[in-house]
Every structure is written in C-alpha cells, then in structure tokens.
C-alpha cells in the first residue's frame, strides 16, 4: 500500500519533470519524506486542528511525511526551544508573539533553505537573514457585543467611555494582544512605542475592569461575564460568531495592528529538510486561502487570491498597522514589571 503510493508519487514527479508546464519545476522538486516524522509546535485547540488540516495533512499526503503539532503557547514554545538548544526535539516552531526575533538573536534558529516561495513574501514579513517567515497575519482590533453596543466602536479611546464601564475586558500584558493594546492606547493618546506613558495613563483608568489571560476565556467572558467590549482579533471574533455569540469586529481608526504568525526551524533540528518543505507548504496560496476561509487569518503571500466572498471578511496585509516589534520586544520585560505593579495590583 505504502509502496504503491510511493511509486505513484515518483511517477508523477517523473511525469512532471518531463513536461514543460509552468508549475513543473515545483512538482519536480516535490520531495519524498516517506517514513519520516516532522514535529512542530502548534497553537492548540481548534486553531491547531485547522492548521493541521489546511497545511500539514496536504503536505503529508504530498511528501509521505508524518507531521504532528505539539500544543504550546508561543512563550512556552520559545522556553522549550531555549531549554532544548543544541538537541531540539521539535523541528519546526510556530510563533504568534514576535518570539522568532528572540530565537534568532539567541542563536536558536537556523536560516531557512530550499523554501521556494520565500521570494514571493514581501520584505517586511520575513527576516532579512532568512531565519523566519510570516506565513499568516492576524488583524487586531475591537470585538464588541452588537446587541449591547449598537454603534460600532471606532477608536481605542472608546475603551474609556463611561457607558461601557463595568463591561470592558482586556488581556493581561503577558498575552501578546495585551501588550499591543497598551501600545495602541499609547498611540491613541499621543504616545508611541517610544513613549508608552500615555498608554499606561489610559490603562490605569480602566484597571478595575476584567483582565483575562487566555483566549480560551473569551466565550465565557462574552457569555456569563457580561462583557461588551474588548481588544482582540478577527480570528477569535469569527470563532465566537460560529459559537453563536452576537459579537462583531471593528477596525479602530488608529489602525488594526498586524500580528505575524511566523515559522522557523530550530538550530540542529534533525528534520530540518522536512521543516523547510513544510514551511514552503505554509506559503502556498491554496493553504493560505484555506486558512483565510476557516480562521479569517490574512494571507502573507501576495500571490494568494481570495475568493470574492472572503475579500470583505479578511483585511489585506497592506491595510494593517505595523507596530515596531523590535522596540516592543526590547521593552517587553520592563513593561511587564511595570504593568504587574501599576495595573494588575
């Protein structure tokens, strides 16, 4: 059974190589990883399942590899990467909170190689030295209860509106969206990544509101929590809508910050070749359309052409605000210390 499918793939590859079709080169180079395993970090829950079926299942089918994702949040994944430096048990790491920059600077990742679609990705969405690439983008903004707030919110300043008092929730700063909320509040009130003071000043006014840590709390927050408005993303808005909650997403006039979903290969990974091929599969327009359709994540590959019914639902990358991730990463620890004392105390 396994042998026959292997033969068919070889035959297909040989056929493709012998033709002069435009995509022949791609097929000709389709590698075979039959009998080998790829271990990737994953985001857990339904997100991980969707990524598995949109990216890894087709990849496994095409190459014969067996890919598994190990669920862990990005911060925990980076800690695991650091703990296993030199002898990584996970080949491919997926991050959502800018951890890839730290992984590169700590020497935990290695440059991508043989990722044929890397050239299609715009410069701002990948590491100049090729250590990581953004394979999807999430748009942050405001989730609100349509039945409680009839006029859609338009600005991060709306979080200070007295009529929402007692019905506001925001993520803790250790959650990536929490730190972006702080930066966007600062921007709304005249600050920036360099001048975070207005952000803390604004957040202090709502420090008595509900602060949560994980996206898994969202359904209960909007359900039993009596929450009307919170800063989060398009993907989770879609999940809540699918769960039947009357919520909608609003793009604030300060901009929708872009969150990069990145992939990189652990330094010394035993299956670096499979990891690189899998990252190439993540950049495939077909995979990115599927991710946009099932999760409302924005495609990173400009070659991706969304079907008409999705274009209005998923903002394109050039419409999103790019925060200065290097500056945020550099100040992250000191902001967390300050936040713990001034906001969560």
């Amino acid at each position: 059974m396994g042998t026959s499918s292997f033969d068919r793939r070889q035959l297909l590859a040989a056929l493709a190589a012998s033709t002069t079709l435009p995509f022949a080169s791609g097929l000709a180079r389709a590698q075979s990883f039959t009998g080998r395993k790829l271990v990737s970090s994953g985001f857990g829950g339904s997100t991980m399942d969707i990524i598995q079926s949109a990216v890894f299942t087709p990849f496994d089918k095409a190459t014969g590899a067996a890919s598994t994702q190990v669920p862990m949040q990005s911060a925990a994944a980076l800690a695991r990467m650091k703990a296993e430096a030199g002898n990584p048990q996970i080949d491919l790491f997926q991050f959502s909170g800018g951890q890839e920059a730290f992984a590169k600077s700590e020497g935990l990742s290695q440059p991508l190689s043989g990722v044929s679609r890397l050239g299609q990705i715009p410069a701002g969405l990948k590491d100049p030295d090729g250590h990581w690439v953004t394979w999807a983008v999430i748009a942050e903004g405001i989730i609100y209860r349509k039945d409680k707030i009839p006029t859609p919110p338009t600005s991060y300043k709306d979080f200070l509106k007295p009529e929402y008092k007692g019905h506001i929730a925001f993520p803790a700063i250790t959650n990536g969206y929490g730190i972006d909320f702080l930066v966007m509040l600062a921007k709304a009130f005249g600050g920036s990544e360099d001048n975070i003071e207005p952000g803390f000043e604004a957040m202090k006014q709502i420090k008595g509101e509900t602060i949560f840590k994980a996206a898994s709390d969202l359904p209960t927050l909007f359900g039993q929590g009596d929450i009307w408005i919170m800063p989060y993303d398009t993907g989770n808005t879609f999940k809540l809508q699918q769960a039947g909650l009357p919520v909608a997403f609003a793009t604030p006039k300060e901009g929708s910050p872009a969150v990069f979903i990145t992939a990189c290969v652990a330094k010394g990974a035993k299956n670096a070749d499979i990891a690189n091929a899998a990252i190439d599969a993540m950049l495939k327009p077909e995979a990115q359309v599927e991710i946009a359709r099932t999760m409302r994540w924005t495609a990173s590959n400009p070659e991706t052409k969304l079907p008409a019914d999705l274009t209005g639902e998923v903002p394109s990358v050039d419409k999103l605000a790019q925060l200065d991730r290097d500056k945020i990463n550099a100040k992250r620890a000191s902001w967390i210390e300050r936040w713990n004392r001034e906001i969560a105390r």
């Binding site: 800690a79 650091k82 509900t210 602060i211 949560f212 009596d226 967390i336």
Partner: protein
Amino acid sequence: MTKPETKGGGARWALFAPALLFAPCAFVYAVFFIWPQASLLAISATDAAGLTLAHYQRFAGDSYYWEILGRTLGLGAAVTAITLVLGVPTAYLLARVQSRWAGFLLLLTTFPLLVSAVVRSFGWMVLFFRDGLLSHGLMALGFADKPVQTMYTMAGVIIALAQVLLPLMILTLHGVFKSIDRDLEYAAMSLGARPIVALGLVTLRLASGGIVAGSLLVFSLAISAFATPSLVGGARANVMATAIYEQAIELLDWPFAAALATILLVTVLALSLAYGALLEGRGEREAAR
C-alpha cells in the same frame, strides 16, 4: 559446615536488606528530586559573572514580591482552615457512621479529584462570572444588591482550591478517626465526660497526628498550585507559582525564577517543620503532664 555459612549469609542479608530495599526509592529520589533541586539552586545563585546573590537581593528589596509571598501563604492558610473546618466533621461522621453506604459516601467525596484542574476551572468560570450562578444566587437570597464577580479574584481561587483539596483532608482524617478505638470515647463518657468533651479530649487529641498530616498536605498543595490560581485567579491573583511561571516562561529569566522557587521551597519547609513541631510538641507536653 553448611549451617554456619547459611547463618552468616543470613546475617549479611539482614544487614544489606534495608539498604537494598531502600535503594530504588533513593535512586528515583536522587535523580528526580535531589539533582533537579540542586541544579535549580545553582541556577538561582549564578549569573554570567559567576556566583551571586543578586537574584535573592532583588526579591528581598522588592515589596511587590513580598506581597506575592504573603498572598501565597495567606492562600495556603485560608484553604487549610476551610478544609479543616469542613473536613473534620465530615471525616468523623464518615468514619463513625454505621451504614453500608459509608464506603460509597467516602468515594463520593473524592469525585473532585477525578476532574482535571483545567476542566474544573472552566466549571468555576461559569459559576463565578458576574452573570453566573453564584452572583444570581447571592442576589436572589438578598446577600448582594448588585452583581458580584468572583472570577479573577483571590476569593475565587480559595474556594476552588478548597473544593479540590477537601477530599485529601477528608481521606487523611478518615483513616485516623477509623483507627481510634470507640471504647476510648465510651471510657471517657463512663468516667463522666459529656460526649462533646470526650470528643475534644480523646478523639481530636488522638487524631492530632492526622490533623497535622492533612493540614500539611493541603497547605503545601495549595501554595504550590499553578493551574487553578492561573485560570480562576487571572492576572490579579498573582501567587508564587504563577510568578515563577511568568519569570521562567514569559520573561525567560531563569535565575530569578529559580530563586523564587527556592524561596518558596525553603519557606514551606520551615513552616511545615515549625507547624509539625508545634502540634507534636504540645501533644508530648500534655502527655507528660
């Protein structure tokens, strides 16, 4: 000639048997506890330049972390007190009840242990939020005039931990009450003690060892709990376990995380020894009197 040899072998066996029997446990303990703890200690006392106490000084000089340690110990004390108050009568009744349902009832008390901390926390979430059952119940009974949010508060963490640790207290005390001879209570009563006095003078005093064991068990599990404080307590109910996680995982400051872990371990050890000595010491003094 074979006889003395056998005897000698037996003596040698008697000498080595305890060591041999103890060896597997000692080995596991050394590999999975002593060695990790020692390396933790090493991480906590070093930095790029070599040996340092800087991470401990950072803790000592920062009221924020003292607050977290205090909150953690307060949590442990509150949970221990609640489980004692609820556990002693329950365990006593379950040990004394003459019913064929007694075993089943004891089994029932352990049910909270069978549910994972994460699932349990989501259950509490539904009850504890402002629009949840607890809030509505309190308002309906007239205890509150506006919605109450127990989610993301220390009170919520204490309730949730007391619920899951209560079975451990009951099981520990149940065994002890079961082993106390009822005749001792009858003897005290036949000598004129009222039942309540007999209970206090005889039963509870004989059970003090179990009370110490149960309290220590509950206390140490409560202050080292991570999932429940993190999920039910949220960002504001910061305890040592969540602070260690934040330093180790979110901030990758392993030396400071190791220092926090060491401080927690030493504090618990000292408090446990003191508590044990206090209760046992009292027992011995009274026995000597």
